[in-house]
């Protein structure tokens, strides 16, 4: 496990020149960018631009054919998703990927799994160490539940929740891991305005209160520009713009891609 | 909607709780209770049906003709277990205390026999396994409640061996010959292995073993191997669907069918008829005769089928049917023994055990019970629960089974020491001591 510490403002993760293809389809081509500790970093772009694939590369679900990813100063070769998680990278998914058969509480508790150490034998006994551990983490999770204002649905199976709440629970699960880097894949997709505002507030609060670095993908330009520190724009798998929101907003390539590119 | 679900749930609970309510009605009349574990369904039903019918019809005949045994009416109750060991055990537990207690069990399944060996010992109920079951259980002092009468698998193996030797003109002629042993690869099929291995060493013939995967539907590979090995004889330890499949395959590889000998569970009409022409000339061992030319079978036809009763007329006279009848005649004989000795009509299972240990089936007794020529003459004692049976070889002529050999006695010099050794091991593992027979 990586134990390097990165100070706020320094580069936490850098992606250099990565390319990814599925057979003949090129999802990402030669993209480089970085994420600084403590910032809110956005990736935007039209459908099929390779945004989700980029997140998938960062947390080890896809393995780019070319290029390197350096996290906390360590360049990694092919890595499994759970190893990425162990290094402090958590994420949410475009189409909610909650555990449908479990309650809200249990879903968020799964986020704590990397920190729970009691073995099978101790767990069967429940009494003693295992119970103590469970209670400690429960306390932490209850804080997250309070923070996300989902107390009322604590024991509800997540399959029965409306979409907006599911997104919130998913964020809670990612937060429970106390990540250093939080990847959010379209956290506001399909939400109404009010829900979006709530979600924005949560994202900014997370960033402020826990100092979590956030990298998010979003369609809604307005939201992105409001809450991010820096924005990268992808189109057809390539990078077409990168910078603070104002720069990007005025970038001719970006405007073309969004307005005149025939999408 | 949901309330309906709840009601259904409650109904389910009621259904599950119902076995609590099972109770046994008491009977005041003098009676003899003979529960019969049967398998009229499942993969072994073709063999299970005639054996069950034989037993049930016999007692129906006794009740009709004589009004029971020695004045006590015989109550036969079937319990279906589908050749499934745990259902067999359930049947045993369900029936053992009914009608004042079961007298004897005859499961016709090796698995159930093994599972019941301990239980019957504890409950003091005899377990009559005529022609099957534990080969070592013939040692009465080790298995006081198990009666593998007639001959066990080891004895039968030696009997078949002797027959093959006689065909060749003497046991020394077997030297250098190749014998293929085709067996169902479960407990039952494997019982004969050790004794064949011993004989192979002793008589210096080559033994080729061909296990057939349970239940023996597909045997192509086995028979291709046999074709290559070109054995002089094939001996088969099969049961159920395996048998007719094997007979057909033997015909396909054009093996001389009269050199193919099954054991006595591989030689019934159910095995040969489906095999069609391929089966003509096929031989098998037996300890009972087929056909209807016996007084006891005739009595069944008159007193049971003649009155429009009976379980299955097409089975009467078949190998398995007659064999079941033979077993019942021995039980009948044992009941008579016990009634005479203890002076009661409703004998207890413990008394029946005494009756079984004092079975002495001579020509005279057999004749008095209408079974002369149908089954073996046996003399059981406390230590010998086999009673010195032997084996016939029968042959299928396309219509019926005909006995083609003398009565062959087993090689007891090989069989008995092996039994004693195995029984001693059983006693040690179980931590029980042998009963005294003196």
């Amino acid at each position: 496990m990586v134990e390097n510490t990165v100070k706020p403002g320094e580069i936490l993760l850098s992606v250099e020149d990565i390319s990814l293809s599925f057979g003949a389809v090129r999802a990402i081509s030669e993209v480089s960018f970085d994420i600084k500790k403590g910032e809110v970093r956005a990736i935007i772009g039209p459908n099929g631009a390779g945004k989700t694939s980029m997140l998938n590369c960062i947390n080890g679900f896809y393995h780019p054919q070319q290029g390197t990813i350096t996290y906390k100063g360590i360049t990694r070769s092919a890595m499994k998703p759970y190893e990425a998680a162990a290094q402090g990278i958590a994420r949410t998914f475009q189409n909610v990927a909650l555990f449908k058969g479990m309650s809200t509480l249990d879903n968020i508790m799964t986020g704590r799994n990397l920190k729970m150490k009691s073995g099978i034998l101790a767990s069967t006994l429940w009494w003693g160490k295992a119970q103590k551990e469970e209670m400690e983490h429960r306390r932490f999770v209850e804080d997250i539940i309070d923070f996300l204002e989902i107390e009322a649905i604590r024991k509800t199976p997540v399959g029965r929740l409306p979409y907006g709440l599911q997104k919130r629970v998913e964020l809670g699960r990612a937060l429970a891991a106390e990540p250093e880097l939080l990847l959010l894949d379209e956290p506001m997709a399909g939400m109404n305005l009010e829900e979006k505002q709530d979600m924005c507030r949560f994202i900014l609060d997370v960033n402020d209160e826990f100092g979590t670095t956030i990298c998010l993908i979003e369609h809604d330009m307005g939201v992105v520009m409001d809450i991010s520190d820096r924005v990268m724009v992808l189109d057809y798998g390539g990078k077409i713009g990168d910078g603070v929101p104002d720069e990007v907003r005025n970038d001719q390539n970006v405007i073309d891609a969004y307005l005149g590119g025939g999408h | 909607m949901s309330l309906r679900k709840f009601v259904l749930g409650a109904l389910g609970v009621a259904v599950l709780a119902a076995p609590f309510a099972v109770s046994a009605p008491a009977l005041a009349e003098e009676s003899l209770y003979l529960p019969k574990l049967v398998y009229r369904t499942g993969p072994f039903a073709p063999g299970g049906i005639p054996t069950a019918n034989g037993a049930v019809d016999y007692w129906a005949m006794i009740n009709e003709r004589d009004g029971g045994v020695g004045g006590a009416k015989v109550i036969v109750e079937e319990c279906e277990f589908g050749y499934n060991t745990d259902r067999g055990v359930e049947c045993y537990e369900r029936t053992k205390k009914k009608h004042g207690g079961a007298l004897v069990y005859q499961p016709y399944s090796t698995g159930v026999t093994y599972a019941l060996a301990d239980r019957t010992r504890k409950d003091k109920i005899p377990l009559l396994t005529m022609g099957y079951g534990r080969s070592d259980a013939g040692i009465g002092s080790a298995f006081p409640y198990v009666f593998p009468m007639a001959l066990n698998y080891w004895g039968q193996s030696t009997g078949i061996m002797k027959y093959m030797a006689s065909q060749e003109g003497g046991i020394e002629k077997m030297k250098g010959k190749t014998i293929a042993l085709v067996y169902l690869d479960i407990a039952y099929g494997k019982e004969s292995l050790p004794i064949f291995r011993t004989m192979s060493e002793k008589f210096d013939f080559k033994l080729k073993e061909y296990p057939v995967t349970f239940p023996g539907i597909e045997q192509k590979a086995t028979w291709l191997q046999i074709r290559r090995a070109k054995p002089d004889y094939i001996v088969m330890w099969g049961w159920g669907v395996m048998n007719q499949s094997a007979i057909k395959e033997a015909a396909n590889i054009r093996f001389p069918i009269d050199h193919f000998i099954g054991n006595w569970w591989s030689g019934a009409e159910q095995d040969t008829v489906p095999a069609g022409k391929a089966a003509i000339g096929y031989k098998s061992a037996t300890f009972s005769a087929a056909g209807t030319d016996f007084p006891v079978i005739q009595d069944i036809l008159t007193h049971v089928y003649g009155k429009g009763k009976g379980k299955g007329k097409e089975n009467v006279g078949q190998v398995l049917y007659n064999r079941a009848v033979v077993t019942q005649v021995f039980i009948h004989h044992a009941i008579l023994n016990a009634q005479k000795e203890f002076g009661v009509k409703s004998v207890s299972s413990e008394q029946l055990r005494w009756g079984l240990e004092n079975v002495n089936m001579t020509d005279a007794t057999a004749a008095s019970l209408g079974m002369k020529g149908l089954g073996p003459n046996l003399k059981i004692s406390c230590n010998d629960h086999i009673g010195g049976g032997g084996v016939f070889i029968q042959q299928w002529d396309g219509k019926k089974w005909n006995i083609v050999s003398e009565y062959i006695k087993p090689m007891n010099d090989l069989v008995i020491p092996a039994m004693e050794k195995s029984a001693a091991k059983y006693l040690k593992e179980k931590g029980v001591s042998a009963v005294s027979c003196s």
Binding site: T110, T124 | F6, L16, P19, V22, E80
Partner: protein, 361 residues
Amino acid sequence: MFYREAGQFKSSYKEDQAVFPILQDRVGVGLMLLVAFIGIPLLTSEYFISAIMTPFLILALAAIGLNILTGYAGQISLGTGGFMAVGAFAAYKFATFSIAIGGAETTIPLVVTILLAGVVAALVGVMFGIPSLRIKGFYLAVATLAAQFFIEWVLVKFGWFTNYSPSGIITAPPLEVMGYLFDSPGEKYIFTLSFVAVMALAAKNLVRSHIGRGWMAIRDMDIAAEIIGFRPLHTKLSAFAVSSFFCGVAGALWAFVHLGTVEPEAFGINRSFAILFMVIIGGMGSIIGSFIGAAFITLLPIFLSNVPPMIGWDIGVDMISHMEFMIFGALIIFFLIVEPHGLARLWSIGKEKLRSWPFPY
């Protein structure tokens, strides 16, 4: 009315996460244990104890084992019978293994024997669980059949496992724990019940711990589970191990306590199917469901075959057996249509109804 939780406040997470947070449940389970441990042995017949309760409990244990794998971890397995067989034969080998310590022959204590048998089954389970890392769903189910047939074959084929018994049938030693002989059906039942009660509680604890959450996560969405940090290898194999441990112990109990002697065929493919049916009918992902399912599958046929003679209807045992099959099949379909998520769900719906009874709202 009778089943209301209102007014029962939890003042700590510990209370909230207790096995049975509701008072009525605690009382109910307490009563059930009381009945099971004292009532049944005292009040019911020997037939009921030895031919119904004991096998039912053992199969329920195996069903819990499979439920852990299939219901909680989402890996369908048809190798249950095989793992039970491993348990039974391992127990036999341990029980007949004696070492001479200080001149006297010493055997392994019975309880240890049975637990060790479970451990062996767990190891074998892990071995056959490895394909689950690549194979999923029905494909995996069929692949676990390889385990079923292979294990059966090995036990039949190699005499060492049966101490060279000529028929391949093993005979269990007497059940002696610390000098006390469990001999009568009642004693054997208590022996089984103790095992099953303790292990069911252990299973309940496991599935509500982080380990159980890992299994459920893998079941519900394996990719997401991996991304939030569950290692698929560990999670799946631990499910295989725990599940096989339970099945192994069940197998050992089946051989040692219930039947006394056992042949490999007793753990054949039909057994595997029967236990899978228990899990699905009872309810996947439910410990109590395993018991209900086992009750349904083992008791219903016995009940059905008892009914016609009880009401004096003489139609022949074969016909009863056929009808038993038909009714059984029809009931499975019926229950699936009424409640696809198993009898356990029906049970909890019932509880919810009772909660508001007699007022529907």
